[in-house]
Symmetry: C2
Subunit: 437 residues, 2 copies
């Protein structure tokens, strides 16, 4: 017999769990669409050349090659490892057919050949939004993607989202203002980015090891320590001596973004100066997010501002800002911790029972008439004792069972209440009560 076990790092859900994932996707999608983002989808594969960065190809990329290909031929295709690289290639390729600012959302799987571990997968859904434009992209776009991330997480109703906002220019500029060279400043930022994990004394040691003076080290640790509400930001920044034009610019950007976050999500966003999000990619706004009830889980969604999307392909200046929600990680937590109830397996409101095979045709026509009238339903596939048929409805979460005989009747499985009905309209009224929809 062939193996039927799963492949490590490639999760799959049971039917009710998949249905829950679809519901979660629908909630996030509704938020994205309510802001006018438009969907795109790219193939699962890109040319390996497209997936390379500065000529380097990450060895954790999955290469894709027909089995029929010569065994000595080099693969040319790979599965994408995020949605940003395919998005960049897409924008370059369709540049003249897009409306700018281009606001897109994208829900697709990505693949990374990393070691699987709790909450980390080799195949995983990401759900991204980005806004890109030509030449210049104002900061209201940063505020919009941050807002959309907050609203997306809030819509899930699985705890209290907290977004942490920062600005790379502020961080890099502040460190430069303390006399750190660009290279040392970037290394110090890497240390700061790990502060939550390694703790302050370990961070202090690692910064000292970069030959940073102890006074600069202390000022760095003091600067990055506070967590600041959006409304306090101006006052906190006014008390810090920034000492560099870049830091001033970053502070100004952060204040502008903070000012444009609407009331509906302001309470869920703070500024935290120790957020850095890696080194090379982001150039201004950066954001991470937590669910307060699961502090150890890491970020559910993150992103930021980048100054250059398509220069690898086109001599155009296309800055952008975007966020990515780690949907599979999120679903894994939701399922494991039972944060949301599993939906009923069947979308049917009604199971039409079948007394015997002679009346099956009638039952099928009845069910189809119900569906045409907008009521989802199933017909039991055999005609055993009614108890067995009711059991099936119960297992699939179908709330009502219909019996077609001399006196047509419908039974609410949960309450046990059974009433007769005269026609489709009266049945529809019974099974489509508002509190159950």
């Amino acid at each position: 017999m062939a193996k039927n076990k799963g492949i490590s790092g490639f999760p799959e859900w049971l039917p009710a769990e998949k249905k829950l994932e679809d519901a979660v996707i629908a909630k996030i999608k509704r938020i994205y669409e309510s802001h006018g983002f438009t969907p795109i989808e790219t193939p699962a594969v890109e040319l390996l050349e497209t997936l390379s960065s500065k000529g380097e190809i990450n060895k954790e990329i999955y290469a894709v090659q027909r089995l029929a290909a010569q065994s000595d031929s080099e693969p040319e295709l790979g599965l994408h490892f995020d949605l940003t690289v395919p998005f960049a290639r897409y924008v370059a390729m369709h540049f003249n057919e897009l409306v700018f600012p281009f606001k897109r959302y994208q829900l697709q799987k990505s693949w990374r050949g990393e070691r699987p571990q709790k909450g980390r997968f080799r195949e995983f859904y990401q759900f991204d939004v980005d806004i890109v434009s030509r030449d210049e992209l104002p900061l209201c776009c940063d505020a919009e993607v941050v807002t959309v991330l907050a609203k997306g997480l809030l819509a899930l109703n699985i705890g209290t989202p907290c977004l942490e906002l920062n600005n790379r220019k502020l961080l890099l500029g502040y460190f430069s203002g303390l006399g750190l060279s660009d290279d040392i400043a970037r290394q110090a930022i890497s240390v700061i980015d790990k502060l939550d994990k390694i703790g302050e004394s370990e961070a202090a040691q690692q910064i000292e090891a970069l030959s940073v003076s102890s006074s600069a080290r202390d000022r760095i640790l003091e600067f990055v320590a506070p967590i600041v509400s959006l409304d306090q930001l101006a006052s906190v920044l006014s008390q810090v001596s920034l000492n560099s034009a870049m830091a001033e610019e970053g502070a100004e950007e952060l204040l502008t973004v903070a000012s444009l976050i609407p009331k509906s999500v302001r309470d869920h966003i703070v500024v935290r100066f120790q957020i850095a999000r890696g080194l090379d990619y982001y150039t201004g706004t950066i954001v991470e997010s937590k669910i307060t009830e699961f502090p150890e889980f890491g970020s559910f969604g993150s992103g930021g501002r980048y100054e250059d999307l398509v220069s690898k392909y086109l001599s155009k200046n296309v800055p952008g800002v975007g966020i990515s929600i780690g949907l599979t990680r999120l679903m894994d937590l939701i399922i494991r911790e039972k944060l949301l109830p599993l939906p009923q397996l069947s979308s049917a409101r009604v199971l039409v029972t079948v007394l015997n095979e002679e009346v099956r045709k009638e039952a099928e026509e009845f069910a189809e008439a119900l569906r045409v009238d907008g009521v989802s339903c199933e017909v039991f596939f055999r005609s055993p004792k009614l108890g067995k048929q009711i059991d099936y409805a119960d297992k699939k979460g179908i709330p009502f069972v219909v019996f077609l005989d001399a006196e047509n009747s419908v039974k609410n499985i949960q309450t046990g209440e059974q009433v007769s009905f005269t026609d489709l309209a009266s049945l529809k009224r019974i099974v489509c009560t508002e509190d159950l929809q």
Copy 2:
């Protein structure tokens, strides 16, 4: 500069086309759910062992391997080439956690390294439904998946779907009854399956070449010629001498399935005895589908009955019946032939214009209040002359533009009509008129 061209056989759509695809998916999904089918999703990859059939691995499968893997190591994973093989592995793996009859739908991409051509892709979506059960699966399930295929195609409103129904036992049994050996009968079926393409005289020659007597050949060609409405089926079959128990069984099955097709779709289904759908897989009911207006396009969706889903993995008897809609082929036709209008790029009902950057914060809060109230909207990202902002709304298909000033007003872009509004509720009434929803 890196290439930014697409990869042959790996289609991607422009944003409005993708939005149309999502709308098409939603329509088919609604039909599937109205019959109580439940979604599942499997990883893109399976073990190559799982993808093999009788120990043979199709060379057109795409193997997947980390670039970091030793170059002399054999790949173990491949992208699935259909949704049936992953479904079989899924059912075997989760057998004790599923409710039987298990009615599932599955929308995923598959990959085949075939030569790309018009309407044939290397990466493509399939949208499948199957019903499987333990030990025995009654014929009402065949009728249900055929019905669901017809309803799915009808829901798209892109022409007149016509489903062609047949039964493998009837075909094989009829040929056996004429004295053809099992092997020759199967070869003759392959010829019949191509009748539409090769024509009757070529088919006659190919059947003769199988050493079939000319009288048997004539009876075969006569038998497979008619196209029969469901209501005429009994009368047509009663005039044919079937000459074998297998043919009688197939005829009985076909009659039962035909009798259970509901009125709502009966006019879109015929029986056509020359439909065979390949050789080894299907064992009873088979179905193909056309859109009458595009006869040259081939089948939009097809499927049939199989007796054995999981025996490769489990010593269980799991018969099933299912259909698969070739979604990417369908979308390619819809887009190429403009069979459906492209949706507006933005889901927003309203663009909130921004007179100058001083009032941006107010505009953003206004827009967010609208969204909280259920009205999707965008805020223009800069504050150029209003004409430019209205142009953007026009390009993105946003029907209304709002101006916030001393007298707040809203303009219908298409009619040019502009009226003032006093509060959110009155604006909502204007922009969410029923005929535009």
